[in-house]
């Protein structure tokens, strides 16, 4: 059949051009892999600072609600919780 003649010609053409063939396979996978890296990180945990006059009960509740916090007491009267961002 004449259609098959064209099909066979295209297949030959593709296999002659090995680099295009390789790029066809590798490029989309590379992009998907990057997407996975970008989107599949850990859930974002907010950094919240609290001042001196916040009751401990509230601070404990905040800690309990799942985000990442640690208490650091500064030299001044303000105390902060959270990862220190210098």
């Amino acid at each position: 059949m004449r259609v098959m003649a064209i099909v066979v010609r295209i297949i030959h053409q593709f296999f002659r051009d090995k680099r295009t063939l390789a790029l066809m396979i590798v490029a989309p996978m590379f992009v998907l892999l990057l997407m996975d890296f970008v989107f599949n990180g850990e859930e974002y945990t907010p950094v919240i600072a609290v001042s001196d006059n916040v009751p401990d009960a509230v601070v404990d509740k905040l800690k309990g609600s799942g985000s990442e916090r640690e208490r650091a007491v500064g030299k001044t009267s303000a105390k902060t919780t959270g990862r220190s961002r210098d």
Binding site: R2, V3, I6, R9, I11, M24, P28, L32, M35, N40
Partner: protein, 273 residues
């Protein structure tokens, strides 16, 4: 805000007409979330919780949450993922099809083919099958890689995913070949990407279009990627089967045939009499 019976609510959750359904189980509130879109889940939960907290006196309650689809630990990538698979397949296939078919013309091979007794539809069909073989392999590999290697959320059957990605690839192939008739160089073919592919990415469901004007939203009706992405999401996130994706399949088939027919017409331009 609607008032629905349990039966109606289940139906509308299935049709994605509502994001959540709240009912009272005795005195305990119980919310059922549609669940496939983590952003919508968060919004629904926050709204309900805020409403309860603003009541005076604040009732002591434990809001019970059920997910219609998905689960609480579903990442946003699980919701984007199916659409992204569709987008990449469409993009890469469109590019290859357009440039290759264009090259046939600029190299003069198309003219030589036209000089043979081959009919125009035979040329188009031959190209669709020839390229189709490679793009099908490509589309299948992308699906396999995303689902098995990257461990994307997968509720439905892999066979359905393959059917949709195959059809999406064929649509992109037909569209790329058709548009190559209007490009004079490979550069111009690349320049079609912002015109043809990128609008489809915006409208395909990657972003929530519900907040947009109605008439603007309806633009997505003419975009093949919308149907492919929608079907992929139904399969992979909601675990749906044939009855849900059948309509999308017919539309994609329709687009493919339409583009092929238009291509046969466009080829007339190059037939030397």
């Amino acid at each position: 805000m609607k008032e629905l019976s349990a039966k109606q609510a289940r139906k509308q959750l299935d049709d994605q007409e509502i994001d959540a359904w709240l009912n009272m189980n005795g005195s305990a509130p119980h919310i059922t979330l549609e669940g496939s879109d983590p952003t919508a889940n968060q919004a629904a939960l926050a709204t309900v919780q805020k409403a309860f907290q603003s009541m005076v006196p604040t009732p002591s309650f434990q809001l019970k949450t059920t997910y219609w689809h998905g689960s609480s630990d579903m990442a946003s990538f699980d919701y984007f993922g199916p659409v992204l698979i569709g987008v990449f397949i469409f993009f890469f296939v469109f590019l290859i099809a357009g440039v290759s078919f264009l090259r046939e013309r600029t190299n003069g091979t198309l003219e030589r083919l036209m000089a043979t007794p081959l009919r125009r539809w035979e040329i188009v069909a031959g190209y669709m099958i020839g390229f189709g073989l490679f793009t099908t392999v490509q589309a299948s590999l992308i699906s396999w890689f995303a689902i098995d290697v990257l461990d994307m959320m997968m509720e439905g059957s892999f066979g359905y995913v393959l059917i949709i990605t195959f059809l999406l690839a064929m649509t992109a192939l037909a569209l790329g070949m058709l548009l190559s008739a209007f490009a004079n160089s490979e550069l111009q073919m690349m320049q079609f990407i912002p015109l043809v592919v990128i609008p489809q990415v915006f409208f395909s469901g990657l972003f929530n279009l519900d907040t947009m004007e109605e008439w603007l939203r309806s633009l997505s009706v003419v975009m093949p990627l919308t149907y492919g992405a929608n079907a992929l999401r139904d399969i992979m996130v909601r675990g749906q089967g044939w009855s849900t994706i059948a309509a999308d399949i017919y539309v994609l088939l329709g687009f493919t045939v339409l583009f092929m027919v238009l291509n046969v017409v466009a080829l007339k331009k190059y037939r030397k009499l």
